[in-house]
Point group: C2
Chain length 200, copies 2
Amino acid sequence: MATLPEPLTRLIAGLSRLPGVGPRSAERIALHIVQAELGSVQQLVEAIVAARDSVRPCQVCGALTEKQPCAICSDDRRDGSLVCVVERPVDIISIEKSNTYRGKYHVLGGKISPLNGVGPEDLRIVSLEQRITSENINEVVIALPSDVEGDATSYYLAKVFKPRGIKISRIAQGISVGTGLEFADELTLSRAMEARREII
Amino acid sequence: MATLPEPLTRLIAGLSRLPGVGPRSAERIALHIVQAELGSVQQLVEAIVAARDSVRPCQVCGALTEKQPCAICSDDRRDGSLVCVVERPVDIISIEKSNTYRGKYHVLGGKISPLNGVGPEDLRIVSLEQRITSENINEVVIALPSDVEGDATSYYLAKVFKPRGIKISRIAQGISVGTGLEFADELTLSRAMEARREII
């Protein structure tokens, strides 16, 4: 029985180790690569190498950056008394796009998840603690996902940092702006109801 | 507003040009790459370069191969009087896995599709014609997909090659083995009905 050439099989195996790429899409991408123009493949390879070589987590906040510390950490115009805790580096971009936050950030690198064997010691909590000690932080804004693990991690952080006398807040949960109630699940609706505010 | 580092943005752009990779998955893959172990990234890059450098279409049949002609074309034990026409190089692997075909192959490289601007001249039909002239082929087995474009292309090939006095067949359309009728669409069922055969 004929099979695919070995370098192609190896490429498919390598691609299917990437997140979100199954064996079928790996095969499709690999076939595209071997048949694509040489220039475009070289460009992709250079982009991979350049990104891997130059992009590093910021030693202060954990955001992805080319220089140390990152642009946000070294920006004096940002409010250093506020630190927003996010799960992943991309979450910073989402919040920045909303244009409503002018403080600093701290990337946790995950959520506490006993089922997946992730405990507090696997997250960047010690470095957050050090920042709270050394920087002039008086509020920690938790912007973790509102799933079970996000809730557990938020609660853990609140328990740890509350005794230090700083404010611990969490971004609001509720219905999305511009959508009807029919698109909100029950849990979201119940949280939105609990967090209702007087409008006048 | 802070944004992602430029090498990362460039990598995301490059990845999202791959087939089946949207902006979200490109972002996910890029973040994985910059945070993955250096060794695994190097492995991936080497696999891309090796596959692109060593894998080429077979000059005879169009299958992907490391040597010219490919293993199937140069295998004398295979029946050279039969040539199976497929759309893409991977289709050969699917047919080989079924272990029921011992002839040669010819990759068409696409289907006739006026809407997408693909005409017969864009496909490997001239080289198929040359093979029919020079090789001792007496049956062309068409194994194109059974969609509208596959049907049109099959009909076109039959019209072109029938006058040459060779047999033109097409693999059967019908219900999948092992599934109930409820999983077959109406068109498949009607084709299966038309192609019914006496069982005794």
